[in-house]
């Protein structure tokens, strides 16, 4: 099958590659770019393990072609740590609040939570639960993921994080 040249920005760096028109974006990221943080869980846009941020929107990269991302600005989980390599507020939140177990859904969760907090810096629990409803986790029962996002929101907003009473 004839290949198409694509260029895009991923985590701030210009990248390019030759792909078949049918190549999924997630495969381009994982196979061509060798960045394996973005995971494949369901291939039907249900689980959200492949979520990346494209031009300021959360997108499930398992159901988008790489050619459709031509010229776009993409952030993946590999682009989420602080410049000095330390964990960002969200990543730290997931660790501090025990918001993950097997870690497979975590990159997608973090990418979704990243955009959610950009759009709403102080979401309520209900808004968080609705906001991550496109991402499935099989291990945590979500409660601690919600707390992880609340922790990150507090840290980003410079306020003290307080766990809600059980």
């Amino acid at each position: 099958m004839a290949k198409t040249h694509v260029t895009m920005k991923v985590n701030g760096a210009e990248v390019e590659g030759l792909v078949e028109p049918r190549t999924l974006l997630v495969h381009f990221i994982r196979e061509n770019l060798g960045m394996t943080g973005t995971h494949i869980g369901c291939e039907t846009t249900h689980c959200g393990a492949c979520t990346v941020d494209i031009d300021g929107m959360s997108v499930k990269s398992c159901t988008m072609f790489a050619v459709q991302a031509q010229g776009s600005d993409i952030i993946t989980v590999e682009g989420m740590a602080n410049a000095d390599g330390t964990l960002s507020a969200l990543q730290e939140g997931f660790r501090m609040m025990h918001g993950l177990q097997c870690g497979f859904c975590t990159p997608g969760m973090i990418m979704r939570a990243h955009r959610l907090l950009k759009e709403n810096a102080s979401p309520s629990e209900e808004e968080i639960r609705m906001g991550i409803s496109g991402n499935i986790c099989r291990c945590t029962g979500y409660q601690n993921i919600v707390k992880a996002i609340q922790y990150a929101a507090a840290k980003i907003n410079g306020v003290e994080f307080r766990e809600a009473a059980e």
Binding site: T44, R95, H98, Q101, G103, Y142, E166
Partner: protein
Amino acid sequence: MNDMTPTREQRTAALEGMGCKRKRVEDIRFTQGKGNYVDDVKLPGMLHGDFVRSPHPHARVKKIDDSEALKVPGVLAVITAETLKTVNLAWMPTLAGDVQMVLADGKVLFQNQEVAFVVATDRYAADDGINKVVVEYEPLPPLVDPFKSMDADAPVLREDLAGKTTGAHGPRKHHNHIFEWTVGDKELTDAAFKKAEVSIKEMISYHRTHPSPLETCQCVCSFDKIKGELTIYGTFQAPHVIRTVVSLIAKLPEQKIHVIAPDIGGGFGNKVGAYPGYICAAVASIVTGKPVKWVEDRIENLTATSFARDYHMTTEIAATKDGKVTGLRVHVLADHGAFDACADPSKWPAGFFNIVTGSYDFPTAHLAVDGVYTNKAPGGVAYRCSFRVTEAAYCIERAMDILAQKLNMDPAELRLKNFIKPEQFPYHSALGWEYDSGDYHTAMRKMMETTDYAALRKEQAEKRAAFARGETREIMGLGVSFFTEIVGAGPSKNCDILGISMFDSCEIRMHPTGAGIARMGTKSQGQGHETTWAQIIATEIGIPADNIMVEEGNTDTAPYGLGTYGSRSTPVAGAAIAMAARKIRAKAQMIAAYKLEVHEDDLEWDIDGFRVKGLPEKFMSMKDICWAAYNSVPPGMEPGLEAVSYYDPPNMTYPFGAYLCVMDIDVDTGVYKVRRFYALDDCGTRINPMIIEGQVHGGLTEAFAIAMGQEIRYDDTGNVVTGSFMDFFMPTAVETPHWETDFTVTPSPHHPIGAKGVGESPNVGGVPAFSNAVNDAFSFLGSTHIQMPHDYWRNWKAAKQLGAVA
């Protein structure tokens, strides 16, 4: 003592040992996308394999034509049963003593069964190749309903077993019969029923569901022809067992097989068994001389890899009229699909289902299980439970509620009346198990007090009255569940897999600087072993957990162990860790005695080192002992500080818990709301409370999914109608309730640190709590039992059948 000297508390805290909410070390890589899962493994020249699968549930395979497929650019080979026969691998043994086709051999027995394996240069080319393989089928009548499997005119499913009157577990009654398993005293139990003042009987079904870890099953196989060595990276919950099984069936020397299980994205039992993908990828690598990757997609995972449950349990309890149980009788019809590939210890054709007497003191019980073949996917696995404990707990917990209803007793009171009493432990159950320890009354009463159970019942009575007056259309249910699990498989006297005893192992090596590495026979799939195992070592030998690296999943370096499933890691490997650590401490004591110039017996252990009794200033830290172990050991002693333990537990462990679900259901829509869910777990000694709480949250969420909607469903023609996350219920953060967790601690008397295991308890106890809540809500309308899953539609249907909806 000056201000700089750390206090006892500070020294203890510095270790981050047992009981500490230590943050997980795994999270540093997982939160940055730096995990290393199987699909992340890329080897030079790696090929990709994918399956042609059967659209039919039952059909003869007349012809497979691969000529067009082989013309597809990138396609290198098409492997069929005929190819596999040349290497004697067309069929493989299952964990349950049956055999299973690797690729369709003459006919197919379930929809999406593997028919041919296409190997290509990339996954897209493999997919192109699959579409060009032409398979000619002759459809045969499908057998879907297990209750019709042993009818006289039922189609013969397993032609390979034609005429065989004996199977792996005894006589077969019918050509679709797998085994009959009976336990307990039939005569005594029948007599108990004859003289019973009260009895109940109900057919309680536990529907077919699926573990569905977010990462599917996958592997990369690489055969090195020059060295004759096979390396397999795979999603394996039991890497050592996989290596042994591969060695036995592929006739390769075991030392030339390297099995590596890297990070695993959830297992839940789905990754215990052996699947055709592993065999085909290995054969393809041998045939092509290149590494071959096989990655299952979600539809394949749901429809062709190990299902869970599918037990239909006719349950009877005999009792006195004041509510004392006198006998239990259960007959199970177990739908195993096309091949009996259940993951059970060899001796137990129906796993540990004989824990079905639960937490209650039944004087007698009798259990019979019939396993049957149908045209469905094989491989009943212990999905977040220990070999059918979930089915057993559901069965007895539903039945106790039904009995309470018949006696007009409160379900919690009925349970309190029949619990095994604290003084009865170790308790010998009527079906043969020895429960190690328990204090059920305390757990139940704590649950009732914390939730104000009496007030909830009062509220329910008021709501029922309001419903009768037509003032509300909402009904309220209280789901009480009390469970006892049997985990920690297991003692070699009870448990083996294909003849391999189910011990587990740990090897600890301390280095001169006071750092160390622990290598294990277990394999975490998210349980946080790298964090918790180091905590056990920290407490046992006084080295900070941060200084201990835990490595799992590499059969070249880890001691032989039976892996992680059935909540066995903490009860078995957790004990192995403590025992290995104690060997290290014993040698350390000798070294310290030599260095401090006293007799060993004059030393006492003090948090992170040894102190001379009565001379508090004479102290040697474990860190210093590590250094001494490599340069100044007593004359005649071998240098070094390492130990290995293979732990064969004397008994299983029996964690338990008391759960309560408060649910409201709108009868006109069937829409339910879980208003409150309280879970009290007793898993003995708690290693990391944060991780325990996380495990409980996760297990409850899976229980919620199963009870309230998740089902692998077949239509009458054998077609799977729940083949993707579109129609297989996966709860998101929106549906999932808030969880309240609580605990009591009743240590296991035979485990070195008293730990019992917890990962599966919330699933085992959770499902009956949800189902009992729904059934309790409807009970005042006259129903005794409504089958799961209790989704909105079924709730509405129940309300309609009971006359609550016009």
